[in-house]
Point group: C2
Chain length 206, copies 2
DNA sequence: GTACGATTCAAACGCCCGTTTGACCGCGCC
DNA sequence: GGCGCGGTCAAACGGGCGTTTGAATCGTAC
């Protein structure tokens, strides 16, 4: 499933991501993961300590970069005297899209992320909120400056709606299927455009 | 977990819904379910045949009514000469909200539904699409009549975004927490209002 | 009261789970 | 050459899994 020149740790992370996306955290066993990664069963506990830690590392590997890109893009979008709403939304949405287009399993990761939202598990929620909650707060603050007439509660609701729409569409749960002649890249590129237009209109609603 | 005057079947369905919401389909075992329902372990296979069938019945029990209500509400919304967009959206959103407010575990069911979207499982996807896909198509057709300038593909994208936002917010994955003095009912009632306003603006975006 | 189908029950089936163990390997270093 | 050490390995641990079985119990019609 992964080329042999990757380290054991990296091969486990890649296989785990794919299988967690497909079968869920409880549904994918370490035996399946280590078989797909072509490593010994004991390697998971040797390198990661436990299955729970492996799950956290699957998130950390992707989210560190995803959120760094989001923060960077946000800074760029906010640089002008009069920042554009579409640019700020793009700073939130496009890095996720690019990740989902990434060759090395980024698409699978978007599904893993969707599963994480559905998990009620306290440990995972705390881990995600502790490590990545600040990103959402930065976007909320930036959007608050762009839309001063919008009250705080309404803004948070709408950010929540956008997150749901983004996750849902990036993990392609819905009925939208790629049309024949359109490439995967074009399909998702359009998805981002559509979502930004939709979200921008929703954000400025009276 | 459920009052003893419910039948064995009903108690199993109730407990399964709660535990599937909390731990996922793979993560909740039949031993946990039957213990919570105060029935014998073998009762699941006696009444439902298998765990997979139990999962389907958990969906059927709620979705039959949810979608019947949606279809009814859609007919009411489309009755006037000039139907209102907010009413059509309300016909889609409010029944889901009411279900999530239902005393008998409707809130848990919204989480189960969110998990179903994350499942890649072919059997479950086919079951849901075969039994309930027509509802989405009816709303798409109604909205298409109200927004004739919007091309079909764009409309389907936006419906997908709305579904994602609805699921995400009804299963309260996000950071939105109920404020102190606001009752659970008021909180969710507002959620529906916010979502309808947001979605309507997004739908009529240029 | 007895016969009979529907339901419940405790126990067992074989299988897979996450984790641990202790032996073994390859390689740089004294 | 021998030592230490990070890494890999096959095997085993106890326990939980979904499902099946066959006997016990129930409710009702005769």
């Amino acid at each position: 499933m992964n080329a042999p020149h990757f380290s054991t740790k990296e091969r486990i992370l890649g296989a785990a991501e794919t299988l967690f996306a497909r079968h869920g955290f409880a549904g994918a066993s370490l035996r399946q993961v280590t078989a797909a990664a072509h490593v010994n069963l004991a390697a998971v506990n040797y390198h990661f300590g436990s299955k729970d830690n492996l799950i956290e590392e699957v998130f950390r590997r992707r989210l560190d970069e995803l959120n760094a890109r989001r923060i960077d893009a946000l800074a760029t979008a906010m640089a002008p005297q009069i920042p554009l709403l579409d640019d700020v939304l793009g700073a939130f949405i496009r890095p996720a899209l690019e990740l989902s287009l990434d060759q090395g399993g980024g698409h699978a990761f978007m599904r893993v992320l969707a599963r994480a939202y559905a998990e009620h598990d306290e440990r995972l929620r705390r881990f995600l909120s502790d490590n990545y909650g600040h990103v959402l707060r930065e976007f909320a603050s930036a959007l608050g400056r762009l839309l001063p007439h919008l009250d705080k509660e309404e803004l948070y609701w709408r950010l929540d709606f956008i997150t749901g729409a983004l996750t849902h569409s990036m993990a392609d749960f819905g009925p939208m299927k790629r049309r024949g002649q359109v490439s995967e890249e074009m399909h998702r590129e359009r998805a981002a455009d559509h979502l930004i237009r939709f979200a921008a209109a929703g954000l400025v609603a009276p």
